[in-house]
Amino acid sequence: MQKSTGPAPRPPAGAGTPAGPGDPGGGRTPGDHTGPWPRRRDRWRLRPRRPGQSACESKTSGPLRRIPEDGLLGGVAAGLAARTGLDLTLVRLALVLLGLVTFGYAVVAYVLFWLVVPVAGTDSSIAARVKEDRRGIALAVGLGSMLVAVLVLVGAIGGTWVGTLGWPLIISVVGLVLIWRNSPDSEQATMQHLVEPVLGLTWGGRRGVVTRLSVAGVLLIAGVSILAAVHETISVLWPLIGAALVIAAVAVVLGPWWLGIARDLVAERRARIRAEERADMAARVHDSVLQTLAMIQRRADQPQQVIQLARAQERELRAWLFDGRAPGSLDDMTLAAGVRQIQQEVEAQHGVSVEAVTVGDCELDDDLSALLAAAREATVNAAKWSGVGVVSLFAEVEPASVSVYVRDRGKGFDPAAVPGDRKGLAESIRARMARRGGSATVRSTPGQGTEVSLTMPRRAGERQPSRT
């Protein structure tokens, strides 16, 4: 699959771009079809028709719009099909043929359409967002200049055919980088899905290393044999050295800038990780310190209890800050023990009775600890706001998931009307579950009570039957 693009550049893997060589070139060389072809055909067959569309697509009017949910990449072909009334498969075949005939420039056109044509039902294109994305533009230009440099080098070695295919490739890659950085999440997910098999091979562990080394070996042998075939004597390699010097000159000028872009990308990734850590920490502080402060305010007339609460909180905070033990942490515990601990703590702190029932048991991992933390928050909420003295807490361990239900028969509330500064439900429950791949639903009817249902999938390979 890398036959044609072999000597041509690959984008640096760390750049996180979707521009694997096989991707934009999908419609260019016949060899490229072998990989993704069967899966694409499956996707054609499986895609349900949109309501109102017959086998002979009905023609829409108005400006051209992309339809990503019908498309393989950006939905340009689907948009064209809907606009012209032609069959989608026909339009796709035409695009692929056009890509071959125009030596890849149809691919460039596709990418440009992707950039400037808005998604159906909206009016703003990706290109409109690109204007705001200065870092994305810098990245695209940096990557483009790097690729141009390599293209010059390859051209100097003598592969003129690389030139004809190289330019559309470079333009497509630059366009795809901009699309990647500025497209909505759903389209990014589609692109990631398509590129994953390629990146998975080149990145993943030992197998990745082996794959990379063998690909590099093949490329090296191919390159050397091409050189040997074209230039019989070493003396004709002088143009190569000349080209290398030109590249070196470009690298000296642009090198620092390229490095800067790479550093920016790393910094951006770190910032995202930091933001996630911050959210996690805010949730913990909310659950422990803010809750305790609220209780202290409410029990201001009972000095003995206030002292007790403050002391317990101080111990917990110290353990967290200096020993790294998270508040409410459930180290070396099983799920059932964790549920019991929630029951005891909430009963002691909030003076309600918690009817805890656990079915099955398993070891706690990070995911399940997050589940318990969310369950604890839901139980505390029920104890504080429901106005009744009994809270039901039910946990069930199943082979594939663990579910917890927290229910009260209290006054209930309207989940849509919770003020924005109440972080409990949004942060401590919903976001906490979502970060770990779990789900949380809240059912509440004013006057009849509230039930919070939490489900966390168990990690594969750690299945354990419930204790019987």
Partner: protein
Amino acid sequence: MTAPSRPRVVIVDDHGLFRSGVRSELGDQVEVVGEADDVQPAIAVIGEHLPDVVLLDVHLPGGGGQLVVTALKAVHPEVRFLALSASDAPEDVIAVIRAGARGYVTKTISGTDLVDAVRRVAAGDAVFSPRLAGFVLDAFAALPPADDRVPSFDPELDQLTTREREVLRLIARGYTYKEIARELTISIRTVETHVSSVLRKLQLSTRHQLTRWAAERRLI
């Protein structure tokens, strides 16, 4: 299966304070015909009054509550038992249910709920607290069938149906029979039937897993 309007009740508990508490909570909704504080007096009082329902503490000084049930079951099968317990040890609860009690509630139950439970038991239905529902789900938890090598004489008794499981789950989540009926869009009567059927399985099943589950928790 019709419940008497005022069920006749005997309270068996070793704490006098608790007995008088229950008596006042039940109020005039039931007729408390007798009290006892241990196994032997209980057997005597129950045999004498033949009440509709016996509120039976799981823990008695002279042994577990199941001794009372076992002693009376053969002689007076019409007397029904509702187990009450402060502890949540599954072995105690399951033992008294296996002996023949028609239900189990915790001592934290509210007065109205307790009256409701007594009525239900008097009518021949089963009463499951959330905790008992959890125990039963645990005991019948689905394990791969290969685990079960011992042939059973009645496979029907050895597993819960999907519907029974759903009902038990909702009980464990704190739903009342009425709420369960609404949630599953079935009648309350059907909910009662499912619970009674679970109780029957719990009492009669010779399921290998159930036996092992019980043995692990030191019962039988």
